[in-house]
């Protein structure tokens, strides 16, 4: 009888040698006459253990990691295929505290199944949401999503059901469903891991959205920096057509939905929904003024649902389990689960999906185990490159939309990047402006010119005469206010977030005394 062995095809696992481990295992199996059934799964999200090898045993899947190609022979000698103990063995995967403490809804299948096996997908609860939706009227589907409290996972946190209702009620005969998979924020990788680990969940969510709002066509816009995700998703779409989950007669229910995968071309701004729509139309990715909102005049001027990968991939679970069950998770107005991505200088980085309400300390120290370098934490950036840097004494904050906003921070797409005490926060502030200058679409002046001026002023503060420092800080404060109030979209509007947080919490790195930094903030 063959033994099933799981080795991820996730690009993060491959970036540290998963393919080499596969090769070594297959060679050893051949030499030893072992009967192995190899499954390339997604990643379980415990990225510090990658490449993670799992072996199917009578007790469940047993985890070994991180495994290098050179370890394979010794692990086989030690009895890995029987789940034997070994210094690299972590026991049954599902019982690992890091996973057992999570509540995986959106990520329930990622790392568990073969991402491109329709049989695996259905066996693990796939299509239950679509079947439930097709048993309801479209308006009931919209109501269920609204009642679940699901909010957009792209960063803005807008209620998904309200957006769908607007599109559903628009009278245009041509409507679109677009998935924004242009996950450009540093510190975020959940969209990528879902696309590589459970692409059918996204497809199912988009079919449900199309049914709910009356759309017959959809696009997924994936960034070009994710070639593996693009390849996996394209194959998943082909398979979904063959299975009649897409196409002219979805699930034999006489409803039609076509889905096309488009690839970005290296522009961060195309993660902004209106810039993404222009890019899909074959134009420069320039931000549009709102109104009109995309729900009414979106792609090619038609009513368009634009949702993030995680929002759409969560929809099937919401409908399968019922709006009430999803709503019961979470706190306040932050309902359901949030997929945190723990990144940067952290000992145990990866995907942490839990109900809203976790504290930053619990995430960074509890799950993360502190810094990878073993040095003290100095700063944590929450919510991507447009998010604030929080100092170590703010780790008590709870990670929900409202509590973070009250402290001048934001959850964004759920990325959390940890820095140790060697970080130069003056350089981090400068980088925020440099990044904005590099990636601004150029449409509005506060962002296009402000970011360039921001770099210059921060350089003047860091390297100029100390006598002029306070005057330059005043200019920087003024510039931040102008960018916040005057920019057309979140790129220019939120770039001041990290800069202001450095002024407020880490003024000493800009050559300011803690007292003056405090009064300026």
């Amino acid at each position: 009888m063959s033994t099933t062995v799981y080795i991820p095809c996730d690009s993060a696992a491959r970036s540290v040698g998963a393919d080499e481990v596969v090769l070594a295992l297959l060679v050893e199996a051949q030499l030893r006459g072992l009967d192995i059934a190899l499954v390339r799964n997604g990643s379980r999200g415990m990225l510090w253990l990658e490449p993670l090898v799992e072996v199917d045993t009578a007790h469940g899947r047993v985890a070994y990691g991180p495994v290098s190609a050179d370890d394979v022979a010794a692990l086989l000698d030690a009895g890995m295929l029987d789940g034997a103990a070994h210094p690299q063995c972590h026991g049954v995967t599902d019982e690992l505290p890091w996973l057992a403490r999570q509540q995986r809804v959106t990520f329930s299948r990622v790392g568990v199944i073969d991402p491109l096996s329709p049989a695996d997908y259905v066996a693990q609860g796939g299509l239950a949401g679509l079947r439930a939706a097709l048993g309801m009227r479209p308006t009931q589907v919209v109501d269920a999503v609204t009642e679940s409290g699901l909010r957009g996972r792209g960063g803005a946190g807008f209620p998904t059901g309200i957006k769908w209702k607007t599109v559903a009620e628009a009278s245009d005969p041509t409507k679109f469903v677009c998935c924004n998979a242009d996950e450009g924020d540093s510190g975020t990788f959940a969209d990528r891991m879902l696309l590589e680990g459970d692409p059918f969940a996204l497809i199912e969510g988009m079919v449900i959205a199309a049914y709910a709002v009356g759309a017959a066509e959809g696009y997924v816009y994936v960034r070009s920096e994710y070639p593996d995700a693009v390849a996996t998703l394209r194959r998943a779409v082909e398979i979904a057509y063959k299975e009649a989950w897409l196409g002219a007669d979805v699930m034999g229910r006489g409803f039609s939905f076509d889905l096309e995968v488009r690839v970005g071309a290296g522009a961060y701004i195309c993660g902004e929904e209106t810039a993404m729509l222009d890019s899909l139309e074959g134009k420069r990715g320039i931000v549009r003024a709102k109104p009109p909102i995309p729900a009414l005049q979106g792609l090619f001027g038609r009513p368009t649902v634009v949702n993030n990968v995680l929002s759409l991939a969560t929809v099937p679970a919401v409908l399968a389990g019922g709006a009430e069950a999803y709503r019961e998770l979470g706190v306040g107005r932050s309902r359901g689960t949030q997929v945190f991505q723990l990144a940067g200088n952290v000992a145990q980085g990866g995907i942490v999906e839990t109900a809203f309400g976790l504290s930053l300390r619990d995430l960074v120290e509890g799950f993360g185990g502190g810094t990878a370098t073993g040095r003290p934490i100095r700063a944590v950036q929450v919510g991507g490159p447009l998010g604030a840097y929080l100092p170590a004494d703010r780790l008590g904050l709870h990670l929900d939309y409202e509590e973070l906003a009250a402290d001048g921070a934001m959850l964004g797409h759920g990325g959390v990047v940890v820095f140790d005490d060697t970080v130069d926060m003056g350089q981090q502030a400068r980088f925020a402006m440099e990044f904005c200058a590099a990636e601004s679409c150029g449409k509005c002046t506060p962002c296009r010119v402000g970011a360039v001026r921001g770099v210059e002023v921060i350089d003047a503060i860091l390297h100029g005469s100390p006598d002029e420092r306070s005057a330059n800080v005043e200019i920087l404060e003024d510039l931040c206010e102008l960018m916040t109030d005057g920019s057309l979209c979140a790129m220019g509007g939120l770039t001041p977030n990290p800069v202001r947080s450095v002024l407020r919490h880490f003024g000493e790195d800009l050559g300011l005394t803690p007292v003056s930094a405090g009064t300026l903030a």
């Binding site: 993060a12 924020d185 540093s186 071309a265 074959g282 980088f431």
Partner: protein, 157 residues
């Protein structure tokens, strides 16, 4: 697939093969760049004619997106991630090392045409940083030694 010499006939065929769907300019340009390695002035002219767009429109799109190249890249293309998660694990040092060891800045190609060095803002490998992408392959936990080895290995292929 290896990069091909410019051919107007082959290019026109590629444009027609990818110009079916609405808003096809990006897929058309991507297919042309994959085939020819870059998008020269002749490509811009041909795309404009075939898709009935102005050359200014096509030029505007080509120059807006950082993926599109108007000059041929080196035989190996290596992109160093400059995102914050990579910075927290030493990508600033890696950036300096890459520029110093190759003797070029970001967006430049070594004089012998062997390596193009690019910058990228996030490769989605933020828990295994610093990350680089070399000829489309993602590599995690890259230090100066590994960087040099990756470039040498790519050159030896």
């Amino acid at each position: 697939m290896s990069v091909q010499e410019w051919s107007a006939d082959a290019a026109a065929e590629i444009v027609r093969a990818h110009s079916g769907p609405r808003g096809a300019l990006l897929p058309v340009l991507q297919a042309l760049q994959e085939h020819f390695g870059h998008l020269g002035a002749e490509a811009t002219r041909l795309v404009a004619k075939e898709l009935n767009l102005s050359r200014a429109d096509v030029h505007g799109v080509v120059t807006f997106y950082s993926d599109f190249r108007t000059a041929p890249p080196g035989r190996t293309v290596v992109a160093v991630c400059r995102g914050e998660a990579c910075q927290s694990r030493g990508s600033r040092e890696l950036e300096r090392h890459a520029q110093h060891s190759l003797g070029v800045g970001f967006g430049e190609t070594t004089p012998d045409g062997s390596v193009t060095l690019d910058q990228v803002f996030c490769l989605g490998n933020c828990a295994l940083s610093p990350a680089v992408q070399i000829d489309g392959r993602l590599v995690g936990r890259v230090d100066a030694d590994l960087f040099d080895r990756l470039v040498a290995d790519a050159a030896a292929l």
